[in-house]
């Protein structure tokens, strides 16, 4: 059921308005010694996302499951071949995405008010955050691929702006450039995907609802089975290519760990909870297309699993607390794509949802630790912080038990469901399941390692820093507590073993139900859910105990910079080395262009310039100042022109 709505345009407009106002304030105060009043700008910054959340919640409560709202605001591109509208679609998938984007977005903006306190770029930062939320809302609320692409580019831009927020350090600018460029490589895939769909379905290939109808229309079955088959595979491949960049999957994943150069709330909001999950959103949104090409589905599953395992192992070597969380984000995103590739789109989105809670909790908690230790991010210089920062410790414990999957937590329910679906997948399900289970053990190991190094044992850093360690202000505490409680309880929206607790799954079934039936086929009897729960818990507990035993004994010495060493370095930067294979020839080509081609063109330009100068020097001699000569010249030239005109006339 699709009904018309006249209010959807307000949703993206709210943060855009906030961004415009804050941007204007930031510009107006740019020449002042101190920035604008933080209380007022902070209030404005939280106000607009919070209003967007309230509106989303209101619409979600009004709308029954299975129904959706649609609004076409204005035509955008009108051509013979295609028509693209500024159209919004508020259905079961976008409502889930919007609820946690605006909800967690508001909380993290509130946290930033405390975290960025005293920073000269406070107002600018808040303007960027609002702009990001506008782009993200556009991305998930759009009713067509092109408008989604607009949001997709918008979040990429905000990611760039926020990674390089502290732009006085060259390394931050380099990280921002890297993120932007790698994402451009992915955007190419997205665009090619749109073109492939337009070639396949014509004007219907752009809009989500129309494409869905087109794919399910029996009249088009012949095209899909025949010549359209290649285009389906190509479209799915290209769109997934786009997703690998945005969601940091193999091979375009190197930018995400570097993105930690940005302020910690940015890492929490953009590079963990929301933006990086837009790839999973896109795959789920286009699930009707993806299930038509099983080869691409298998590819997604293997890429997801490979990413999950690689990043989990990388996470073991990191000494920077934010880098551990960055690799864990990459790993969890891998889990989501593994599920999507196995046809469990709803489980993937559920993991996106719970991951948003526990990863935001972990990042904000880590931010609180960094804030307390005056910017220290090196795990080797922490230790014993459980006594110094008891509240932050408790918050991080909530996030930690959730990500490793201790029964009852949000991470447990989503990961358990995800793994069960992977096991029951028709193609190599068992193998994928055991590999994913091993990755879950690794997850527990590196996350416990982080907790042990930061909070257990003795403090290894500078005593001076510890003396000043303090709990964060309420603006930071409140969002952390809400998210921490969310990372414990959010899983009960779809607790597989509790009858009736499947609101989340029911909500999504109208969107992905058909696709999942095609992908998975008939339901078949697998082992009971209880077995998976026991195995998942065992994985978590084994990892936890192993890690606890190892890392309470072997504590790294706080010498040098917090960078991976030895084998860890080779492993961590494996994909950077791979990228270098492409970057080096490009650099060589750039060198050739710069030195040879550019100097050729420069010589040509200089020759033209020299000719003009010499000629004008000659002509200048004619300006002798003698009246008779000048008069004679003008009379002579007039005669010449007269003769020329008469010559043409006769």
């Amino acid at each position: 059921m699709i009904s018309q709505s006249n209010y959807l345009w307000i949703l993206p407009l709210l943060p855009l308005l906030g961004s415009a106002i804050l941007g204007a304030i930031a510009l107006a105060t740019s020449h002042h010694e101190k920035g604008a009043n933080e209380h007022r700008t902070g209030f404005l910054a939280v106000l607009f996302p919070a209003l967007a959340f309230i509106l989303t919640a209101f619409l979600s409560l009004q709308l029954e499951i299975g129904h959706s709202l649609r609004q076409v605001v204005a035509p955008w591109i009108v051509a013979d071949a295609i028509t693209v509208n500024f159209g919004f679609l508020f259905d079961d998938l976008s409502r889930i995405m919007l609820l946690f984007i605006t909800g967690i977005g508001s909380l993290i903006t509130l946290y930033s008010v405390g975290y960025m306190h005293g920073d000269r770029g406070f107002t600018r930062f808040m303007a960027y955050l609002n702009l990001f939320l506008f782009s993200m809302i556009t991305l998930v609320l759009a009713d067509n691929l092109v408008l989604t692409f607009l949001g997709w580019e918008g979040v990429g831009l905000c990611s760039y702006l926020l990674i390089g927020f502290w732009h006085k350090e060259a390394a931050n600018g380099a990280a921002a450039n890297k993120a932007f460029l790698v994402n451009r490589a992915g955007d190419l895939g997205f665009l090619l995907g749109i073109f492939a769909l337009m070639t396949l379905a014509g004007p219907a290939g752009i809009s989500y609802t129309e494409l869905r109808e087109w794919l399910h229309n029996p009249l088009n079955a012949e095209i899909l089975a025949g010549q359209g088959q290649v285009l389906v595979v190509l479209a799915a491949f290209f769109l997934f290519w786009g997703c690998t960049a945005k969601s940091a999957q193999i091979p375009l994943l190197t930018w995400l760990p570097d993105a930690m150069a940005g302020p910690t709330p940015v890492s929490a909001l953009i590079h963990a909870a929301t933006m990086v999950t837009s790839g999973v959103y896109l795959v789920t949104r286009m699930s009707d297309l993806f299930v038509l090409s099983p080869a691409i589905m298998h590819m997604i599953a293997f890429v997801g699993l490979g990413t999950a395992m690689w990043a989990a192992i990388s996470g073991l070597f990191q000494d920077d607390i934010k880098k551990v969380l960055a690799y864990s984000t990459v790993s969890q995103l891998g889990f989501m794509f593994l599920a999507a590739g196995c046809g469990a789109f709803d489980a993937a989105i559920f993991h996106v949802f719970t991951h948003a809670f526990f990863k935001a909790t972990l990042f904000l908690g880590a931010g609180s630790v960094i804030h307390a230790l005056a910017g220290e991010q090196d795990l080797r210089k922490m230790g014993g912080l459980a006594k110094t920062l008891p509240r932050t410790f408790l918050i991080l414990v909530f996030g930690w038990v959730s990500i490793i999957g201790i029964p009852g937590t949000a991470g447990f329910w989503s990961k358990d469901l995800l793994l069960e679906r992977v096991y029951n997948a028709p193609f190599m399900g068992h193998t994928l399941y055991y590999a994913a289970l091993a990755t879950a053990v690794l997850t527990a190991i590196y996350m416990t390692r982080m907790m042990v190094l930061a909070f257990m044992g003795k403090y290894r850093g500078d005593e001076h820093v510890k003396a000043h360690a303090h709990e964060s202000p309420w603006t930071m505490q409140l969002p952390m507590w809400i998210l921490a409680i969310g990372s414990l309880l959010a899983g009960f929206l779809w607790a597989g073993m509790i009858p009736g607790a499947d609101l989340f799954g029911r909500t999504l079934s109208s969107i992905v139900g058909d696709a999942q039936r095609i992908a998975v086929g008939a339901e078949h009897e697998g082992p009971s859910a209880f077995v998976f729960a026991v195995l998942g818990t065992a994985a978590a507990v084994i990892g936890l105990l192993t890690s606890f035993i190892i890392f309470t004994k072997f504590v790294p010495s706080p010498v040098g910079l917090p960078a991976p060493r030895g084998f860890g370095k080779v492993w961590t930067f494996a994909f950077d080395s791979l990228h270098a294979l492409f970057i080096k020839p490009t650099r060589a080509l750039a060198w050739v262009l710069q030195t040879i081609v550019q100097s050729l063109f420069e010589a040509l330009q200089n020759a033209i310039g020299l000719f003009a100068i010499q000629t004008s020097d000659l002509l200048r001699k004619l300006q002798s100042g003698s009246i008779r000569l000048q008069l004679g010249l003008s009379v002579g030239l007039t005669l010449l022109i007269a003769v020329a005109i008469l010559g043409r006339l006769f």
Partner: protein, 103 residues
């Protein structure tokens, strides 16, 4: 009755003489006189054409010289005033000595 063509030939001759005087003579007064002569040659040409054509074209041929004479009078005033000023500054009537406007 003078032939129409004769008028035009006389006008062209006067014009050429005026231009030649302006170009050849170095005395600045003669240059000005040459320019005036050339100007009046065109006036004569206009008058001649006013007899060649009829109606409104004829009227134009008679009116334009009147305007031209008025403008020439004003121009002569300005020109002579400038010559006097230049003479006071340079103490010379030779146009070749006024070359300060070169590049």
């Amino acid at each position: 009755m003078i032939d129409i063509l004769t008028v035009q030939i006389i006008a062209a001759l006067l014009f050429c003489i005026g231009v030649a005087v302006a170009l050849v003579r170095r005395n600045i007064f003669f240059v000005l006189m040459g320019v005036e002569l050339a100007l009046n040659a065109t006036n004569l040409s206009f008058i001649g054409f006013s007899r060649t054509f009829s109606g409104s074209a004829s009227m134009v041929g008679q009116i334009v010289p009147l305007f031209s004479i008025a403008v020439a009078a004003a121009e002569a005033c300005v020109g002579l005033a400038m010559v006097i000023l230049i003479f006071r500054a340079r103490e010379s009537l030779d146009s070749e000595s006024f070359t300060s406007l070169k590049e």
